[in-house]
Amino acid sequence: MADSAKTLKRSSAEREGTQDSKRLKTNGDGTTMDAKQNPYLAHLEEDGRSGFAFKSPLDKFERQNTTARQASEAEDSDNNPWTNNPHSQQYFKILKTRRDLPVQKQRQEFLDMYHSTQILVFVGETGSGKTTQIPQYVLYDELPHLTGKLIACTQPRRVAAMSVAQRVADELDVNLGEEVGYSIRFENRTGPKTLLKYMTDGQLLREAMHDHDMSRYGCIILDEAHERTLATDILMALLKQIAERRKDLKIIVMSATLDAQKFQTYFFNAPLLAVPGRTHPVEIFYTPEPERDYVEAAVRTVLQIHASEPEGDILLFLTGEEEIEDACRRIGLEVDDMIRESDAGPIAVYPLYGTLPPHQQQRIFDKAPDALRKGGRPGRKCIVATNIAETSLTIDGIVYVVDPGFSKQKIYNPRTRVESLLVSPISKASAQQRAGRAGRTRPGKCFRLYTEKAFKKELIEQTYPEILRSNLANTVLELKKLGVEDLVHFDLMDPPAPETMMRALEELNYLACLDDDGELTTLGGLASEFPLDPAIAVMLISSPEFYCSNEILSITSLLSVPQIWVRPNNARKRADEMKQQFAHPDGDHLTLLNAYHAYKGAEQAGDDVKKWCHEHFLSYRHLSSADNVRAQLKRIMETHDIQLVSTPFQNKEYYVNIRRALLAGFFMQVAMRESSNSKVYKTVKDDQLVMIHPGTVVTSPYDWVVYNEFVLTTKQYVRTVTNIRPEWLLEIAPIYYDVDSFEKGEIKSALTRLTDKVRRRQAMKGGR
């Protein structure tokens, strides 16, 4: 309590400090009754009202007792109730469209229910306006400027948090980063004035590690809860506990799908408010027989729609980048034929997947092409997307949905410790969600590329939540830091399998983040400060011992962003040649470092870095974001007194030290070559047969390698590998490489031989 009062005072003081000097810096203007009702304000002197220094329509509002009409009037006023600046023309234009949103009709109903309960479950389909509007409704009711307690709205994706925050800032006619801000990993755009904060769910979780009661917030809105991301699941379990301790904390769980009852029961039978989306009926079609090739069937269906269905855009769901690009190409070629042969309309095909650069992602919002000539058949737009178009993204104009019934899903196998992204059949809920995309503008059609019987029999009811499909090492570390003692009875909505939990505990134990009793160690506490996987965090923390923390910091940042290598289809050879310029014979980690150093060198030389990156087939976007990540991590290191040191580059140990430091975190990701002149490696302890990913720079076949990730496609690959010496393993991770703990096999015998050798050498030294 004392703590929260302190933050409260600080934030109100800060807020006033930034206001215009001509405005009065008073604390006590216009008091209302609610100040006494709020236990937090009791700590403040006098009336404790730290409202605005200007006259605002909000002054008359009674906190947590407002009506929709009051709010509408405040929104209609000439001056912005939050900043006192006159409203712009744009504001009124947006306000008009906002008033047409489906949620608007139920604003009063929402407020009534919000006042009556601590936890509220809100269901509204994508496009109902819930993500942008509900937080604003809460803003006008919670009046955070009075209490200093912010409103948080979580999003599963970084991009969504950023774009929605921008949108809401526009809607409220304020600058992004002031009254409305966002906070995502490695980027925080909030200020002392911030009242409403969009953030990723993971970011709120990180904040909770230092503020177990989430005392900065008066209301927490969990958006897109139906996606059941790992962080949202953990947040729900935490908030369930916090809600009992903090009766003043309001919680809204927002979901876009129909299975909201599960949320209700989980949250002590919380009341539910449903807002119908702006949906039209969607007619569903199935194939009469199962399809041999779903990609081909998908392309055929798109063409069929194009040939015979009336105007309207098409959304096709496929699983990954390659497949999508292939389908786009095939559709384009076929439609060219159709135009030649039968005077079909033009079609604009746009791919959409996560790794697509943002400006290309934006193209999906382009208008459909016009008819080729006057009076010709109308053109249409076809978007070929992964399941990001399933719930998160709203594309207007889609009338036809083609659903082959697959998506790529992450699955973690705790026995082999492999996290893989596999093409799997979707769930019934997912299929319904996809179909719903067709009915956004007018009645639509959904073509499912499987039989109705398969829909009923083969598809599971609900997609497995992420927590059941992930490596939990990071989660367990976070939970420990969050003060969760009993991981067995932690009240998650869908608790993970015991084996998965055990693996996570053991991994953390080997990393010395947890002791043998499962208690957080000092190292573990420190590792949890970094928004990184525990292994990487441990590597970073121990890097000063190897005299290369600067370099490991750079490598860490480079591993935290998408691949920096660009390899366009039409210039692969040149791209590979360019990469070879940076290549270090000992491995990919060092090659990454070389590229980064070259990039920084070009930057310092004052070159046009963008051009330089383009010439060298490097991604400027990812390199500069790695640079940003590096700065953030460096700050964390500095606050925790982790030294930043380097071995002089002339020293021949320069690269050796780095390779050794890699092992301090990644000693559990090591593979040994099966036999000499074999290309196959076997991972240590998990005994998985793998090959080195062909994208590597490593040419000579080393016997032992450390790898950054395990990729399971049609073959099992390890990607980003670096050559190491096995003696280092015994030295750096003696517990993990205790020979007795190994199963019989080549690796065990290799290690036994090695231990003997080391022992003999030491004996020799001792004897001399």
Partner: protein, 249 residues
């Protein structure tokens, strides 16, 4: 997409991860896919239209096909015990507390008394109703993770999950590798099993010396025939010049 670039890919045939299209699949025109429409069928009545948010209550629909009906008969829907079949409703036989069947095996048309001399406890119904005793879990007892979980009250042999009521899943979600484009509901057996069968049949053939001789003779005859077809025509021989056919014999 341009053809001349293709020669650069010869040395990285093995990398599936790059989205190169194999040469034989490169198409400069459509492959005529638009001429092969799929005859979609409308969803069966009742579920053809997507329900809107308003009617969230799941409707209990009557069983749709025969396997549903069968499962409805077999699986107990409600915990209440089903009334015993009329033929066995004899008031004097007390029901067994485990399997709910009368203790004395009554005579019934399906089980003539002469054929069930076994005591009731050994009857199939009774045995199936007995509570299962499971073998202990195969987890390695020395694992640190296990000792943590059991120190917080989780029993590895109880077949329970984690969570407030230990309601979580007992085993990790399984991953299944999919490396083809087969659609949902397409049976796995169609192409692969067929291949295996074909190969299997070839292997089954046992050849003795006579058969081998026969095969060789046939092979020779076939080769001759091909030869004749290729070079039998005088014009070809003339074109190829003298001695062109010599290499073959």
């Amino acid at each position: 997409m341009a053809a001349p670039k293709e020669n650069t890919r010869s040395n990285n045939d093995h990398d599936e991860d790059y989205d190169d299209i194999p040469l034989q699949h490169q198409r400069y025109f459509g492959a005529g896919l638009h001429k092969r429409p799929i005859s979609f069928v409308s969803a069966s009545t009742g579920s053809s239209q997507l329900q809107s948010v308003n009617n969230t209550t799941p409707k209990l629909s009557p069983p749709q096909d025969i396997s549903d009906i069968y499962l409805n008969l077999v699986l107990p829907k409600t915990p209440q015990p089903s009334p015993p079949p009329p033929s066995e409703s004899q008031p004097d036989a007390p029901p067994c507390p485990i399997c709910n069947l009368p203790l004395q095996a009554p005579s019934s048309p399906t089980h003539p008394p002469s054929q069930c001399p076994t005591p009731h406890t050994q009857s199939l119904a009774h045995q199936l109703s007995l509570p299962h005793s499971h073998p202990p879990s195969s987890l390695d007892r020395t694992r640190m993770g296990l000792s943590y979980l059991s120190s917080h009250g989780w029993d590895p042999d109880a077949r329970r999950g984690l969570g407030a009521a230990e309601q979580g899943i007992a085993f990790p979600v399984k991953a299944r590798l999919k490396d083809d484009n087969r659609g949902v509901g397409m049976p796995v057996s169609v192409s692969k099993k067929g291949d295996e069968k074909g190969r299997g049949r070839e292997k089954e053939k046992l050849l003795d010396a006579g058969k081998v001789r026969k095969l060789v003779k046939e092979e020779g005859r076939r080769r001759e025939r091909v030869w004749e077809e290729l070079f039998g025509d005088g014009r070809v021989e003339k074109y190829l010049g003298k001695g062109a056919g010599g290499g073959g014999s």
